[in-house]
């Protein structure tokens, strides 16, 4: 795990692993047989891992999905799809590299893939505008959605985005209308749409790509109308209560599944996607395959209608009317 960046809640595990390592060295140097003791410690350590990683609170999970080594969209695309040809540009104003899109093969079937793209390091992050799309990014997405519809291809989105970029030029070029248009277009496509929230599901900027017939979510991902930090500022006048806000907003995959906002949780490898991206991709593949199969039987019109009905349930005003 050498260069892995360690999160706060992982420290007890790291400590214990270090002790085990030291004990192994000690046993080797002194030529002692400590395999029983080391074995017990190892079991203890595995238990600790499961305990810690399965009981993460919402705020800790946010730390986890913001982990700089969490696989980015392009890394996941590479692992999930057999092939991928990137299509660039909105055909209007620009090429937004904070939003990638193209055609890929999934189990031999062509699909349109759309995903916001974060960078891996500072250089890449500057290139990718820290994964914050401008209107061009959403308009590229709209263009590719319409293209997918023309050719009857399913649309698969991988969503990991803090939000749409808040900036002067983005406002001038219609960030709001671009997001609205993406919601509208993806919301009425006559092809199967599967949205997978893989990390940060930040407000309208995420929803614009999350109008799935099926909305899946990685175990540690979050999906929220507002960042917990901003909520903390509004509620408590400073950002020190982000942890509390995260809980109150019910943004974890488990909460969202319970509230039927999402359809399914895709489990992550122990400790998070970045501990084993390949396993992560396999878990996504399994879920994606299953969900695309569910949608296969529906006609064009049924797909659009089913999506309308899917989102209609969030209007239920309990207790009145």
């Amino acid at each position: 795990m050498g260069n892995t960046i360690i999160l706060e809640y992982e420290k007890p595990i790291i400590e214990l692993e270090k002790r085990i390592e030291e004990l192994k060295v000690f046993a080797r140097e002194r030529n002692l047989d400590l395999s029983d003791e080391i074995g017990t410690l190892q079991i203890r350590c595995d238990k600790l891992k499961r305990e810690i990683y399965s009981s993460l609170n919402s705020w800790q999970r946010i730390q986890l999905v913001r982990h700089p080594q969490r696989p980015t969209a392009l890394e996941l695309i590479d692992l999930i799809f057999d092939d991928f040809f990137e299509l660039h540009g909105d055909r209007l104003y620009g090429e937004d590299s904070a939003m990638v899109g193209g055609i890929g093969l999934f189990n031999g079937q062509p699909v349109t893939i759309i995903a916001p793209q974060k960078g891996r390091d500072t250089k890449e992050n500057i290139e990718r505008n820290f994964g914050l799309p401008h209107p061009e990014g959403y308009r590229k997405a709209i263009r590719l959605m319409r293209q997918a519809e023309k050719f009857g291809r399913p649309v698969v989105t991988l969503v990991d985005v803090v939000g749409a970029y808040p900036g002067i030029a983005a406002e001038e070029r219609g960030q709001g209308p671009a997001i609205a248009e993406a919601i509208t277009v993806m919301g009425s496509l006559q092809v199967p749409t599967v949205a997978i929230i893989t990390g940060e599901g930040g407000s309208g900027g995420a929803l614009a790509l999350a109008m799935g017939n099926r909305v899946l979510m990685l175990e540690n991902a979050y999906y929220s109308v507002i960042s917990p930090e901003s909520a903390s500022i509004i509620l408590y006048r400073n950002d020190q209560y982000a942890k509390e806000a995260a809980e109150a907003l019910k943004i974890s995959s488990r909460d969202l599944l319970e509230m039927q906002i999402i359809d399914e949780i895709i489990p992550e490898p122990l400790g998070g996607a970045h501990k084993d991206p390949k396993q992560m991709a396999n878990l996504i593949k399994e879920a994606l395959d299953r969900n695309l199969t569910i949608l296969k039987g529906l006609s064009k019109k049924e797909l659009a209608e089913a999506r309308y009905e899917r989102f209609k349930i969030y209007g239920t005003i309990n207790g009145t009317n």
Binding site: P166, G176, P177, I179, A180, M259, R307, T320, N321
Partner: protein, 287 residues
């Protein structure tokens, strides 16, 4: 002739931006007969203001008005029939202190939530109208606002009617209903789209202020987008942008005039001309 209305530019069109809208009560002068203009600071006689559509006669500033007053100004007298007046939120997240907050607003405004919808006639033409009220939690969008907008479009589809939305919300999506507020962006866009695909007319009137989740959903998806002079319109709030950009904003940024010049608004219409404008547009789209 209608076109002559716009020939002699009304002075209201020159209204300057006004960043921080407040609920109108705040500016009332004790005694209750007088009010201070948010923009030019002139003291105005409230009855005069009423007569001028709550537009400051001195500087053209458009005061925030209630949904009720808006409906009075725009629809034929006695024609308005409210729909879904009793809808209340179920507080889906059981968010701390939310219900208490709601109760306070419900008492103050005599509304159940931040929107009024209904059917009315405008110059004799049947129309579905939805008006967001800024005074109720800054007109933010929650499940009730979303649901009532969706129902408004669905009624309009069923009865083949045009929809007029007056959108004026400060905060966009309402935090206290979390992801359920977010889902209203989805639903309202889908409903507006369904209405559009039925070949029906949707006019949005963007008023002070139309931001965030409201602007990034149904409010920007209309066939014709009108805006009141000086209204603040955008996706991200000016403060967030200033923090992100670490530079000051251009003059008039996110005002109706600025957004219009960047291609996102069909026409800026001062409030006194709004009913006549809607009348003509609805008339021209009647079948």
């Amino acid at each position: 002739m209608f076109k002559d209305l716009f020939r002699s530019k009304p002075k209201y069109v020159t209204v300057r931006p006004h960043r921080q809208p407040e609920t109108s009560e705040k500016k009332e002068i004790p005694g209750g007969l007088w009010i201070k203009c948010d923009k030019c600071n002139n003291i105005l006689y409230k009855k005069d203001l009423e007569k001028s559509f709550s537009v400051c006669p001195k500087c053209g500033f458009h005061f925030v008005i209630t949904a009720k007053k808006r409906i009075q100004q725009l629809t034929d007298e006695g024609s308005f029939k409210e729909m879904d007046a009793d809808l209340k939120t179920s507080d889906p997240l059981e968010f701390p202190q939310y219900l208490e907050k709601l109760e306070k607003y419900q008492e103050e405004t005599e509304m159940k939530d931040a929107i009024v919808t209904g059917k009315a006639t405008i110059a004799g033409r049947k129309t579905v109208i939805a008006v967001i009220d800024f005074n109720f939690m800054r007109g933010s969008m929650n499940t009730v606002v979303g649901e009532k907008i969706v129902r408004a479009f669905e009624v309009a589809i069923k009865e083949k009617l045009p929809v007029v939305v007056i959108s004026g919300g400060g905060g966009g999506a309402r935090m206290q209903e979390g992801v359920f507020s977010l889902m209203q962006m989805a639903r309202t866009c889908q409903a507006a789209d369904k209405h559009s695909k039925a070949g029906l007319l949707y006019i949005a009137v963007l008023t002070q202020a139309t931001m965030g989740g409201v602007y990034a959903s149904f409010a920007s998806q209309a066939d014709i987008i009108l805006a009141e002079p000086g209204a603040l319109i955008g996706f991200a709030g000016p403060r967030i942008i200033e923090q992100t950009m670490k530079q000051s904003l251009p003059a008039g940024f996110q005002t109706a005039e600025y957004v219009h010049n960047h291609g996102h608004i069909d026409h800026i219409v001062a409030r006194p001309f709004l009913k006549e404008t809607l009348t003509h547009l609805i008339d021209w789209h009647a079948r």
